[in-house]
Amino acid sequence: MSDDPRFGASPGDRAIEAAWRRASAEEPSAHADAAILAAARAGRGRRPHWRTMAAAAAVAALALLLVPRTERQAERGDVQFHAPMQSPPADVPPTPIEVAPAAVPPPRQDAASRESAAPAAMMPPAAPQPAGPSAASGSVPVEAEASAQAWIDRIASLRAAGDSAAAATALQEFRRAVPDADSQLPPELRDWAAALPQQP
């Protein structure tokens, strides 16, 4: 309050001011407080501009598009490299995954269409000969373990790319191929898998 003696001195003024302070006690939102204090701590004072946010969203979308594509390219390399080391099922085309890159539609559509049109193409690539401790123990056949890990990697990468439908389909394929598939899933996939009932 001002030190000016001509205002706020009379009982009437004081009553109004007291009433005003009781009536007017609103405070800014916690969100505003947090944003302001964060800006002060960071030494910046600008709100994220919509163009900045749009650019960030575009980068995120691009990453979602590129990650599955890169993974498929990597897989294609694996298939080509390891093809001589495995014997594919008789009903699976030898190299269904080898599609000319120029003909590959956008990744998310690609995954879905390949699942519906050629389920065998979703088969995970065979893994290289493992040299880890479990292989040394001999408790699990080396090829089975490697194959399971390839499934798991495939499922995890599809989920990471946001393609839940393709991941679910891959899980069902994994379950059909490996009897105790769910028990081999890493903890971060188990809850998700448990919510997806086994299909015949």
């Binding site: 001002s2 009553a15 009433a19 609103e26 004072g45």
Partner: protein, 192 residues
């Protein structure tokens, strides 16, 4: 140990002391928010303007020079932000913030002080209804008078600084305050 002044806290913040800013913000956050709220009557808009104001303060930390009271500087920024908001909405208050209107002219010499009402009925206990009536009554006060009242009562600025901030003589600010007090008084008297 004397409490740090606003000015010293702002200067400390300019040197990188974020804790000084937190103290400064804690002192003024409610008043600046309510300043915008009473002028806009919209919590979301007030929140946005409040946030913009303080982000401006953060941006200006290294340029701040304590040659004026921090409060005066802060509410200068606040008024500018408010005017920008009204411009962007292509709406202006019924009376622009710094206009001279009939309320200013009604008592130009400042001879009728509120203290001239000795038998003031407002010493009564003021209840919740009265509080709501006060807030509504201030919404009906023209923007220049409302602004003077908020800067005086909410922000605690001296009359001379309000006058400098508004670019009008001190007597005009007194006149505006009298008008605002009278309107609020009338709102409470209606309850009796």
């Amino acid at each position: 140990m004397p409490e740090a002044t606003d000015e010293s806290l702002m200067l400390a913040f300019g040197r990188g002391d974020a804790a000084a800013f937190e103290r400064l913000y804690g002192r003024h956050r409610g008043a600046t928010f309510r300043y915008f709220l009473r002028h806009t009557s919209n919590r979301a808009v007030a929140d946005e303007l409040h946030q913009d104001l303080w982000l401006r303060v953060v941006r200006a930390r290294e340029r701040y020079a304590a040659d004026a009271r921090f409060g005066t500087w802060l509410y200068t920024l606040a008024r500018h932000r408010l005017v920008d908001h009204w411009r962007s909405q292509q709406t202006t208050p019924l009376t622009p913030l710094d206009s001279h209107d009939d309320a200013d002219a009604a008592d130009p010499a400042g001879v009728h002080e509120l203290r001239d009402h000795p038998a003031d009925p407002l010493r009564m206990v003021i209840d919740e209804q009265a509080c709501g009536r006060l807030v509504a009554a201030l919404e009906d006060v023209p923007a220049p008078q409302r602004d003077a009242f908020l800067l005086h009562v909410e922000a605690g600025l001296p009359l001379a600084e309000i006058a400098a901030l508004a670019g009008v003589p001190v007597e005009t600010i007194k006149s505006r305050l009298r008008y605002a007090y009278r309107k609020l008084r009338a709102a409470l008297e209606d309850l009796q």
